[in-house]
Amino acid sequence: MSKVNLSIIQQQIVTFDRGAILVKAGAGSGKTRVLTERIKRLCDLTKRKILAITFTNKAAEEMKARIGDLPDITTRLFVGTFHGFCQQVLESHGQLIGFPEIPHIFEDETDRLKLVELAIQQTPSYLYIYKQQDTKQQRQLCYNALNFISEVKRRLSTEESLQKDNADRDLILLYSSYQDILTSQNAIDFDDLILLTYNLFTTNPKIAALYRRTYEYICVDEAQDLNYAQYQLLRALTMGEHSNIMMVGDPNQSIFAFNGSSSEYMTKMFIEDYQPLTIELKENYRSAKRVLLAAQKIIPDSCDIANAVIEGMFEMHKLADEESEATWITEKIEKLVSLGNHDDIEGGITYEKIAVLARNKYVFNHLTKSLNAKGLPFYYKITPGAIKFESKLMNIFDMAFRVKLNPHDTLHWFRLIDLLGNQGAKNLSELFNTTTEKQYKEILSTIIGLSADGSNLKASLRTLSQVIENIIEDENEKGMILNDIKELLEHWYQYAKKANKKSLQQFKNSMALGKTHPLAQPNGITLSTVHTMKGQEYDIVFLMGMDDETFPDYRAIKNGGTELEQEKNNAYVAFTRSKRFLFVTWPEKRLMPWGDYKSRKISRFLETL
């Protein structure tokens, strides 16, 4: 495991031993990392357990994955939601409040709506209203009732305290009907989990003490989302004796407001009750300043630059042609990797930390040659499944190809006839006969003419290329189609050299399984289209082929409007995939597949840079 770089202030939080600590953490400040590092350290520090509360199961899973495999981690550490923790407590010690076995838990809202509907029907005053309403209003009434009940429970109120508070008689009646229905089904609802655990702790101080001793350290992530019940549960658990609590959260990011949560439990109550050491983590480590500055040029005011601490790097280069663009990138990568270490890049610069992005995959053609020539490791990040054609025409080819191999594939058949606009056709030959558009006719005749063993595939595709060259006007479009055909031939070659007895069917299956892609195994530099990279970040990103009509795509320019807006957003996403260094390049001219050069301009999105 590589050693993790922590700032002094982060280090201070990680090594904080005993007592309460509040960490106010801004976006990208590395709070999850600080939290997991601290938990790892605490695991070494105590023989007892650590309770790490998150607000969603997904967050819990992520935290577990980050903590990784420590010895007896599963028994020493509870990572989960408040509800998960309460469920475990009730499973173990619920018998003291009358639950020797944990009852059924209604967590699904639709289930609870059913229950509340029953409760309404058992409460005369509401039943009267309910009967006079239409379905939509009834539904709203149920929601309101459910919210009321939930709110009562989140206030940790009981029926008795409701009565004491002089609540409306009908409300009390509704509440108790709902509870009776639950009890009669030996069930509790989601809110009860916390309410019951709170009751267990407060009525049986020895149980609370047992858990207090058991969980020597408590960490609450996203503490800005705490609500009253959850906070009181923590109070009941710690009971003023135990104060090894850590709360981490971003007061500006409270998003759960609908369930009674408030960042004040973290920013006010916690400070009053526990006098924690308060530390603010403002610094943004997620992205480098220079990269953010560049991204802001594409979409203004999109990111918070003030707190970014890492300088990073942003460069933009115009190269004479695609070949020199590829050479430049290859040499830059070589240089970076041979540099080995850079203060901004944690754990040193390796091929694995580098990604090259482009709008479509054919932009990489020259780069792959150049990387191969230098022997640098790389792979294509592909979405699993068959190859994705970039051009519309070859997508039609793909559909027709599928239908040819499987005439029962109605899904693709309907999409095909829909695209070609002749609904009456029954099969491919009929479709061919009724189609008038020349380029589609060419595609269909090529498909129909393919022999099942693939023996004429190569020749047919070559012929198709020549025809396309002559009939397609738009040079961008033409280039895209020819690249698609070349790509398909490349896959065929990968398949054919390994297959003993060839068939188109088998070829299609091999493609679907990703077996025909020469470089699909993750290893070295990542080459990826912007679309397949969404949601992922790399320390060093090269964004190549940033010439207009490549990015934005020529089709988006033609269609304008939302589509172009989308492209702009894509460009922004592409920029922000970089955490540290971003290099943007574009060629002044492109060699088209048929041998002509076409001169290019810089992408319209980058004109301001």
Binding site: T75, Q88, E91, G94, T214
Partner: protein, 588 residues
């Protein structure tokens, strides 16, 4: 601060249909053969050790139906440094067991209510053992007649901790077998022997020297070595060549040849030449050594450690003097000990509160214990002095007859053998003279507590009857007085009753027999006979009452030889006894 298994319940394991046993730091299980002492230990092994030995025969069979599951509940509680039950587990144990095994009851006491269930899985064709933590320790039988095993199992949690090892010492232990097996406690310890580098060199050098000396001092070995040297010429070797080593050469081979010798007086014999008693005892002591070793390790590493030992018949093959020492040797082992025994010596070495009698009543196997909390220290002292120390065999009785005096003690076994046609030992009847009509109570308490059926055969002077009846009340027996106490006719003692019952001639015969043996000449004998023939009843009474012990067997034999029916009161006693013996034998 430590822990203790406080209670064990077993359901449907072998002959144990439903039994509840409370345990202390040391518990001694007594009882007749085949009552279920070993089964009880084996049930504990399932819960705390391993359950691989289980077969279909381990499931209780009732009315030809085999039970579908075996349930074993064990309650583990925290104890303070004096071994007294306390409220909470200390930190080390709490950390080990974790909060999901520790239950807190309504009185705020912590415990681990562990349930183990064994079932047969017909698909996997194997036995499954599952463990659960009960939501609470159930009552044995609650107000609604729900039995402990009928409630909820709670959540599934295993209970296997290296810190709480379970050791089972079966009756067939033998140090010779242990020495051969690496998996025995002995083997495990030997395999852990480690020496420092210097020590190894030192010892191996000494062995080398020893080997050279042994070879060079023997002309035979020298000759063998010299001759074998001829190998060198053919093998073309430049190394040392032939070597003869009477003693093992490498220190790592030591454990292969390790041997234990033991001398009773002058000669020392290796274990092979010792009897099973010494070998069995040695095996037990190596377990003790093994546990000591682990205990020391635990203290050093500051980890909790609580071994549980189930020891089957530690007295096996040992002579009485050794048996008397065994108890203290076992009692001083760290952890919790459960000992099954047939040895009165071990039973009488134990403290009263440690004794558990496993017995079969009409329906099933149960456990009897002496509740010392209900007794005064004086009561306990009396029981220990009068019952435990002198009458250890009582713990293994099938049925006990108590009475006051010596004549009965001598005479009753003879009558019993005549009546039952087997010796009283074989029938499992113990005859116990309590030494005075005021001394019944401690004996009755023991018999009652341990659920051993008992009878009183009592004299019937008015004051005696009053005293016996009051003691009967104090012992709180569930039986009716008429069913278990036989009084002689009012005002009589045993001797007077015999006279009243018309056995005066037989008594005279007994007196003659005794007196004649003292006469030196035939004339003297003749005169003595004549003299005795003239004795009146009063004289005869005074003679036999003067030396009861001597006359007891003689009178009994005379009555039997006379072919007269047995005295009616004795017949009445034996008939009551017979009913018990028949019902108990039917259960075996």
């Amino acid at each position: 601060m430590s822990i203790l298994i406080e209670q064990v319940r077993v359901f449907n394991f072998r002959g144990l249909q439903n039994i509840h046993v409370e345990l202390g730091a040391t518990t001694v299980l007594t009882g007749m053969n085949n009552t279920g002492k070993t089964s009880f230990l084996k049930a504990m092994q399932i819960a705390l050790g391993n359950s691989q030995f289980i077969t279909q025969d381990d499931f209780n069979v009732k009315d030809n139906n085999s039970a579908p599951k075996i349930i074993i509940d064990i309650k583990i509680v925290p104890v303070d440094k004096d071994g007294v039950h306390c409220a909470d587990f200390d930190a080390d144990w709490e950390v080990l067991f974790t909060e999901d095994r520790i239950m807190i009851d309504v009185e705020s006491n912590s415990s681990i209510p562990l349930r183990t269930i064994v079932t047969y899985d017909p698909i996997a064709a194997s036995y499954k053992t599952r463990q659960y933590i009960l939501p609470e320790w159930p009552q044995f039988e609650d107000a609604k007649h729900k039995l402990w095993y009928e409630g909820s199992n709670g959540k599934e949690r295993t209970f296997h901790f290296d810190e709480v090892p379970f050791y089972y010492m079966d009756a067939q232990r033998d140090i010779l077998e242990d020495m051969k097996m690496r998996s025995s406690y002995f083997g495990k310890m030997i395999s852990k022997i480690e020496y420092s580098e210097e020590d190894i060199k030192l010892i191996e050098d000494q062995i080398k020297e020893l080997n050279e000396k042994a070879v060079n001092s023997s002309s035979i070995l020298v000759n063998i070595k010299a001759t074998l040297k001829e190998l060198d010429s053919a093998m073309d070797t430049k190394s040392e060549g032939v070597e003869i080593t009477p003693f093992t050469k490498k220190i790592r081979d030591l454990n292969k040849g390790i041997n234990i010798s033991y001398s009773d007086n002058k000669e020392s014999f290796p274990m092979e030449y010792h009897g099973m008693g010494t070998r069995s005892w040695s095996s037990l002591l190596t377990l003790k050594a093994f546990i000591n070793l682990r205990d020391k390790g635990a203290i050093k590493e500051q980890t909790p450690f609580f071994p549980i030992l189930a020891i089957e018949e530690p007295e096996a093959h040992l002579h009485p003097n050794a048996q008397k020492k065994l108890y203290n040797q076992i009692d001083s082992i760290e952890g919790q000990k459960i000992i099954s025994t047939h040895s009165p010596y071990i039973a009488s070495s134990a403290q009263l509160r440690q004794l558990r009698n496993i017995y079969k009543n009409d329906e099933s196997v149960c456990c009897g214990a002496i509740n010392t909390k209900l007794l005064t220290p004086e009561d306990i002292r009396k029981i220990e002095r009068h019952v435990v120390n002198t009458r250890g065999e009582l713990f293994f009785s099938k049925v006990i007859i108590f009475f006051e005096g010596e004549t009965e003690e001598q005479a009753l076994p003879i009558f019993a053998e005549h009546f039952f046609k087997v010796s009283h030992v074989e029938a499992g009847i113990d005859f116990v003279g309590v030494g005075g009509c005021g001394n019944y109570l401690p004996f009755l308490r023991v018999a009652e507590s341990l659920k051993i059926p008992w009878f009183i055969f009592s004299d019937a002077e008015a004051n005696v009857k009053t005293s016996v009846r009051s003691q009967f009340t104090d012992c709180k027996s569930a039986e009716q007085e008429v069913d278990i106490i036989v009084f002689l006719s009012d005002g009589n003692n045993f001797e007077k009753q015999l006279v009243d019952d018309g056995y005066i001639d037989e008594i005279r015969v007994a007196i003659v027999k005794l007196e004649i043996s003292k006469c030196s000449t035939p004339q003297h004998m003749k005169a003595k006979k004549k003299e005795i023939a003239a004795y009146d009843n009063a004289k005869i009474m005074s003679i036999i009452e003067g030396s009861k012990a001597q006359f007891g067997p003689l009178i009994a034999e005379a009555i039997i030889e006379s072919n007269k029916p047995l005295p009616p009161k004795i017949v009445a006693l034996f008939e009551k006894l017979e009913a018990i013996l028949i019902s108990r034998s039917a259960n075996e």
